[in-house]
Symmetry: C2
Subunit: 182 residues, 2 copies
DNA sequence: TGACAAATATATCAAACTGATATATTATAT
DNA sequence: ATATAATATATCAGTTTGATATATTTGTCA
């Protein structure tokens, strides 16, 4: 099978919620989808042009006062393609943590390096967890809506995992302390 | 800053443990590092050639009986470069879960689709958790060794996270059931 | 013994994606 | 008045993936 392009479905998915610009899609990726999916302008804009050619989205020039602005909307055909993909089994879930890589090869620099990486990781997780808890609290008032229900489930996933990361940080630091005693 | 190439350090790290072939490095990525880092032949072999040109690794032809075999070893300079990178702060920890993507956009197909994806995810996690628990049990006899200590910490991370994934699966399924009652 | 499948081993390529940068306008803060 | 931040589109070199090609050796079953 050819290298399955995921960005197509990410953008179709975003447009299934509401019409928006490429810039706005990038913002969504950097905020709402932040902790489980990413994307760069270098893949967003070319993909949008491709999707238009394929008849999956339509462009609308909504420029005002000279500020260039293109609003994209999903077509019926685009929705069909999205649904088809949504029903297929997941191909790949991937975690790519540089922290674990540096930890794994850490014997080259000693346990001091490991401790530092764990502490930095811990701080980052606390920040992410704080944001996710705000998301969850905010979402609770919109839970009659189906879109928000789905969003809520992913936020709960994030909270669960970051909490377990923090537990691991504690346990790892204790383990290192014990090793250092001996 | 230029696009920081990570494969360099992954291969240097593997070679800091012991000399091996490109094929063996791919196997390590598919087994030991599996749950936090990946890599394909398309990046391994070209990178190894580049590392040799830079004087960070040395090649040794260990072919036997016509079977082509090149064993790579890390140089002192290569070790220095690895150490330098290991001490630098982590640039990016990234999770890219298609499961969450399909869940997030799932209102397009309804809660039935969400349930299916969660159940498939649950099964996959159980499998991963089983493997990681075997890794951990096996590692416990080698914990005087520093390399294995670092390895152990990453395995513990994996166990912690997969356990929390399974908890989330239970809670998410219950939540969906409650929503369906109303 | 022969036949077939699986494992070992290196290598390359199109397609996809990232991170950075370029360009230009409008809104906001000092 | 002016500098900075935000809005908005676009492109590119460098990196990586997933697939495939090629060839040999080892293991397995009959």
């Amino acid at each position: 099978m050819a290298n399955t392009k995921k960005m197509d479905y990410v953008l179709l998915g975003l447009l299934s919620h509401e019409p928006m610009t490429g810039y706005e899609m990038k913002k969504r990726l950097d905020t709402t989808l932040r902790f489980f999916w990413g994307g760069s302008y270098g893949s967003i804009y070319p993909t949008l042009n491709q999707l238009e050619k394929e008849g999956k989205v339509t462009k609308a020039d909504t420029s005002s006062n000279g500020r260039e602005k293109i609003s994209y909307s999903i077509t019926e055909y685009g929705k069909e393609c999205l649904k088809e993909w949504l029903l297929k089994p997941v191909e790949k879930d991937e975690l790519r943590y540089e922290t674990l890589l540096k930890l794994f090869f850490g014997s080259e620099t000693g346990m001091g390096g490991a401790k530092e990486h764990i502490e930095r990781f811990e701080e980052k997780c606390k920040g992410e967890l704080f944001v996710l808890n705000m998301f969850a609290e905010n979402l609770r008032q919109y839970l009659e809506d189906d879109t928000h229900k789905h969003y809520y489930l992913t936020v709960k996933f994030g909270i669960k995992t970051y909490e377990s990361y923090l537990e691991w940080c504690q346990e790892a630091k204790e383990q290192i302390k014990e090793w250092e005693k001996q």
